[in-house]
């Protein structure tokens, strides 16, 4: 275990995404996360550009999902989880305990792997967070509910049964509802943790098209095991790998570059399907 903690010199620091005109939305500096004495990932330096899809790829257990959780401080909810390093959102260091995690999570929303609508009606699923954030006007709520359901292409499917339980929807519909619920709060970024992995191929492609359509309005960060998916939708790719018992960022760059001309031999083997 000690070796993994002291192995920083061997890590090749990953240069932030080589984008000249791209603004950075969120940037991590030497970000590490440990669960008790198990290191999930360490020393990740990564910049996420605004208004693009950045895909995190790599094998299971290399800390991709944990990395995602750090970006909106959901790690606060996990017992015995220690985060160190810096995460810059504009001028803020969001790991600073003085930052209000609730305000942060409104700006940076996370969609989890398994669709997790609340056991309420479809309408309430979207309205509850809106009400929580101070919206009281019923007409305004109705308008936002409709708008966000239209944004995810769910409106025509559910407009006649908004009062029905959200749990009665299919998996793909549930996942789109979860995305709609997040969009209703007008976040700046969406963190998607393998949003298609629990869905059948057809729902999966619907959700994938939805993600692409959101790209220009939101910053999207998507964890995926599906390299083909990353190839189809991502603008930038960051590849994680397990080294010395902990996850590390081994390469990042534009999607064309990572897939066509990977710098690291591990990435090369991974994207060409030789490893992983």
């Amino acid at each position: 275990m000690k070796t993994s903690l002291n192995s920083t010199p061997s890590v090749r620091p990953c240069t932030p995404t080589p984008s000249h005109h791209q603004e950075t939305f969120i940037q991590t500096e030497r970000l590490s996360l440990r669960y008790g004495c198990k290191t999930a990932f360490c020393d990740v330096n990564l910049s996420i550009p605004v208004g693009c899809i950045t895909a995190l790829v790599g094998p299971s257990g290399c800390g991709k999902s944990s990395f995602l959780c750090c970006l909106n401080r959901l790690t606060d909810l996990i017992p015995c989880c220690q985060v160190s390093g810096k995460v810059r959102l504009g001028k803020l260091d969001i790991l600073n305990p003085k930052i209000d995690p609730i305000a942060l999570r409104r700006r940076v929303s996370l969609i989890s792997q398994k669709p997790n609508p609340f056991p309420l009606s479809i309408w309430q699923n979207i309205a509850l967070p809106l009400k929580e954030h101070g919206l009281r006007n019923r007409e305004e709520i109705d308008r936002i509910v409709e708008q966000s359901l239209r944004d995810v292409g769910l409106w025509d499917e559910v407009k006649d049964r908004l009062k029905d339980s959200a749990l009665a929807l299919s998996g793909g519909q549930q996942q789109r509802l979860c995305i709609a619920r997040a969009l209703a709060l007008k976040p700046e970024a969406l963190l998607l943790d393998e949003p298609c992995s629990a869905l059948d191929p057809i729902s999966s492609s619907v959700v994938e098209d939805l993600i692409v359509s959101l790209k220009h309005h939101y910053t999207l960060l998507i964890v995926t095991h599906n390299l083909a998916q990353a190839r189809r939708i991502a603008d930038y790719v960051a590849c994680f790998w397990v080294k010395d018992d902990s996850g590390q960022l081994i390469e990042c760059g534009s999607a064309e570059q990572v897939f066509a001309d990977p710098q690291s031999p591990i990435t090369a083997a991974y994207v060409n399907g030789i490893r992983g």
Partner: protein, 316 residues
């Protein structure tokens, strides 16, 4: 309640064991292996577990049916509108049980009014705000488990010393209700805690990720989802409180007059039954009648709670 559960469990087990024996017969014609014994019916020895399981199931059901049947047989004749609405006469040999019903209701009311908020509050603290393996959580949980196993007579003595004498409440419905609240609390807390823990963690993460505060998450999502668990605790608690005799003898007392306030002594149904059958010769008929009322009340509460939980579960 416990007996019912036992029946269900053993029935499930017996079905399972049947399934396990099935492969013996239908598989045999298609079976390619010549070494397997081919018999048209399962060998007689393998029937033994099936018979045992069914016998146990029947035994448990029969015991329950016998007790209830006996009470109904002897008590049904006593039950009338008059029995429920008049005061006992001649030490309870004649007359009805109206003041006893009122006292029982009041004791139960005091007990629940104190134990419900306290119990649910503690359960929320334990399940939502205390890590499972923290020393505080472990200490509270261990103490509750010990408390749940303390004999009711000990609670009665405690109530007598603390509520009746130290706090000066005397033999009163208030003392009795508070003592029962102490008794019911461990059951209530543990089952409410289990109910809350059974709520999928997804809801908590989703709520946090949408920036919902913990209060909203708790009130709007977790507590509604935990209602079936809370109801189970409530039913078990009411069951224990209604059936309690020993603890109440020392606290709420024996007096069978209609209680005028919570500071009056009042006789609970279970004490009435005890008194009629043990201390009053010729009180058996009314004892049976009171027992029937008690059993019917408990079954009603049980049934209502089960129905509410069921409807709640199918709401979403």
């Amino acid at each position: 309640m416990a007996k019912k559960k036992g029946v269900q469990k053993s029935e499930v087990r017996s079905q399972k064991s049947e399934v396990n024996f099935l492969p013996c017969s239908p598989a045999s014609p298609a079976s390619p292996s010549p070494h397997l014994p081919i018999s048209p019916s399962p060998p007689p020895l393998s029937l033994l577990p099936t018979i045992t399981v069914w016998a146990i199931a029947l035994l448990v059901t029969a015991t329950f049916a016998w007790i209830v049947g006996d009470i109904i047989w002897h008590g049904a004749g006593t039950i009338s509108w008059e029995f429920l609405t008049t005061a006992p006469k001649n030490s309870g040999r004649e007359g009805g049980i109206a003041p006893i019903l009122v006292a029982t209701g009041l004791i139960l009311g005091v007990c629940l009014a104190v134990s419900l908020p306290l119990g649910i509050g503690t359960a929320i603290l334990l399940a939502e705000f205390t890590p499972t393996d923290s020393w505080f959580g472990r200490l509270v949980r261990r103490s509750l488990d010990v408390l749940a196993g303390v004999p009711s007579i000990v609670f009665g003595l405690f109530g007598n010393v603390f509520f009746a004498r130290t706090l000066g409440l005397g033999f009163s419905i208030l003392s009795g209700g508070l003592t029962l609240a102490c008794m019911v609390l461990p059951i209530l807390i543990r089952s409410a805690e289990e109910g809350l823990r059974a709520v999928p963690n997804d809801y908590r993460l989703a709520a946090a990720s949408l920036g919902l505060s913990r209060t909203t998450t708790l009130w709007q999502l977790l507590l509604p989802a935990a209602v079936p668990g809370l109801l189970v605790g409530l039913v078990l608690g009411i069951g224990r409180a209604m059936a309690e005799t020993a603890a109440l003898i020392f606290t709420s007392g024996y007096v069978d007059r209609m209680p005028q306030s919570l500071f009056d002594s009042g006789r609970a149904l279970s004490i009435h039954i005890f008194d009629l059958s043990m201390n009053v010769s010729g009180g058996d008929t009314n004892a049976y009648g009171s027992a029937l009322v008690l059993v019917v009340l408990l079954l009603l509460i049980n049934g209502t709670a089960a129905q509410i939980a069921d409807r709640w579960l199918h709401k979403f």
